[in-house]
Symmetry: C2
Subunit: 332 residues, 2 copies
């Protein structure tokens, strides 16, 4: 079965490019609210499940032991843009566990945010692992290791206690086996497991409601959602989709992008979980499709609709600032 | 009709993403050598037709009047990375027509090449229009305007003598009407016209052979091919696909990337033209598909095959330098 076209890119009056994919909205009992394309095919969720990967940090007591703040919790589930506040907050998290940036095993890269990258270049500096978009998640992993009284060294490896705990949480929350034959290595060197989109949507319906979770896990999920809603900048960064959407809708949504066109999220007041994957890995398409699904189901007043509209249809401008086209969801 | 999957992206042992599209290889008489997907749908060729857009620069006599060198000719058909040599060469072209960077109407952007961008930031500078990936083409447009004794001001507009000449050449070479109802604005502000992929492939079969061209146009096409083959760095830049492929195969190929997953090219010794478009606009897929088509038809000895192999299957590494996946052509 070919997946349907979920998003279109226009130029002038012509559709220039088309993005196919699959998307699912489901409640915590598994009742399907919306479905498009093949939702059973295994998909690497990549960074879209960082909030689920962070659950052991709370359930183990490590987050409380080190007194992680709300901005730090938001950063622990982020793919941030490497802006100064992100890097500083990662470092602060590590310091609470008595560690420093030397413990991070995610690798260094230039900040995703161009202004931040150029500021480092202007100062004659080089980026560190703190600027890696995953440094908050990794600082959380280091805190988890220390909280478990484990040596953090090698915490990215599938056999380390940290990744075992993460994998266990992912399996329980999504209900899907995370098998080594469907394992890949993520950009930040931790294992990522391909699971059906349906399992991801179900996991996020549970994450958004706590339905079916033990009390401790439900409390952890609520803390993460609250932290992200209060500090959306920490989850992504300046101008980023996750940040803009959560700044507008706060605790009414929890959303998280992943590489290769994946998006996961929850609409807690409706009890819905959302998971989508653009076949071709395009983030620009995943964003407008997520926006379209949110707008389709979440009641908004006129002012909210107006403020949310630019997220649903993204305007492409050229180097002279002239609008040349748009990225928009295709009605499936 | 759904276009077939032309390229796959793997992670571990799993296919993570898939790119669909259409591709055509055709000879200058219009005989189809290879065809996949819908080759009749109008496609914006974007920068993939810069070599055809440059023909009037030669046919008008402007290139000779200003004594453009081979590196300058290669730059006139480039989407360069904004490295210092690219910017300097654009400026030199403008100077030959008695103009400077103030004439460029493409807009400024930071160099595509990260090292070049950071060097500008380190020096406390800002990028200029010379760093725009289209500045070579635009310098050529300014030379064309001056060669026609026209005021270059407004040369990006559809009604200017420069764009009229460019559109005329595109229509003649491709045999396709370039109509205003299929017009869009390109990233560098000039008009781009959506035409069938088939017309683009035919245009490049003619461009690669001169077949069906007046002698002056055939000579211009040969000059451009020779210049690109001698100076592949000028056509793109450090590490870029066009540069690497033409460094290896020189005059045996002429290829040019365009935005939104378009690629055009010619295999002169076989008389073939190539045009392809990835539906989703992905350049990473367009590259491996172009490499696959070249390797499928162009005889190479063992050493050439070995050197060309990394272009056919591109290795993705993560921030720790670990191979995590590959981008490869799918056999259609």
């Amino acid at each position: 079965m070919d997946n349907p076209i979920l998003a279109e890119v226009t130029r002038g009056h012509t559709v220039e490019s088309r993005h196919r994919g699959s998307a699912l909205v489901i409640d915590a009992d598994g009742a399907v609210v919306f479905s498009a394309g093949d939702v059973d095919r295994p998909v690497f969720p990549r960074s879209a499940v960082k909030a689920l990967q962070a659950l052991p940090l709370f359930e183990s007591g490590a987050a409380d032991r080190y007194g992680l703040t709300e901005p730090e919790i938001a950063l622990a589930v982020s793919s941030h843009s490497g802006e100064p506040l992100h890097a500083q907050t990662s470092l602060a998290m590590l310091a609470k566990a008595g560690r420093d940036a030397g413990c991070l095993e995610c690798g260094a890269h230039w900040p995703m945010n161009d202004v931040a990258a150029r500021a480092i270049a202007r100062s004659g500096g080089e980026p560190s692992a703190l600027n890696n978009n995953c440094s908050g998640k990794h600082a959380g992993f280091v805190c988890l290791a220390c909280g478990l009284d484990e040596d953090p060294a090698g915490y990215v490896k599938a056999g380390h206690a940290v990744q075992q705990a993460v994998r266990g949480a992912l399996e329980e929350v999504t209900g899907a086996a995370h098998s080594t034959d469907r394992m890949g290595t993520d950009g930040c060197s931790i294992p990522t497991y391909a699971v059906p989109l349906k399992a991801l949507a179900l996991g996020f319906a549970r994450f958004g409601t706590g339905h079916g979770f033990a009390p401790q896990r439900a409390k952890a999920a609520a803390r993460i959602r609250k932290a992200a809603a209060a500090h959306p900048f920490m989850v992504a960064g300046t101008g980023r989709f996750d940040t803009r959407a959560m700044e507008l809708l706060r605790e009414r949504i929890f959303i998280k992008t992943g590489a290769e066109g994946v998006y996961c999220g929850a609409l807690p007041e409706l009890g819905y979980g959302i998971a989508l994957k653009c076949d071709d890995g395009a983030g620009r398409a995943a964003e407008v499709v997520m926006a379209d699904l949110i707008a389709r189901f979440l009641p908004m007043d006129e002012a909210q609709q107006l403020a949310f509209a630019p997220l649903r249809e993204s305007v492409m401008k050229n180097w002279n600032g002239i609008e040349v086209g748009r990225v928009r969801a295709a009605r499936v």
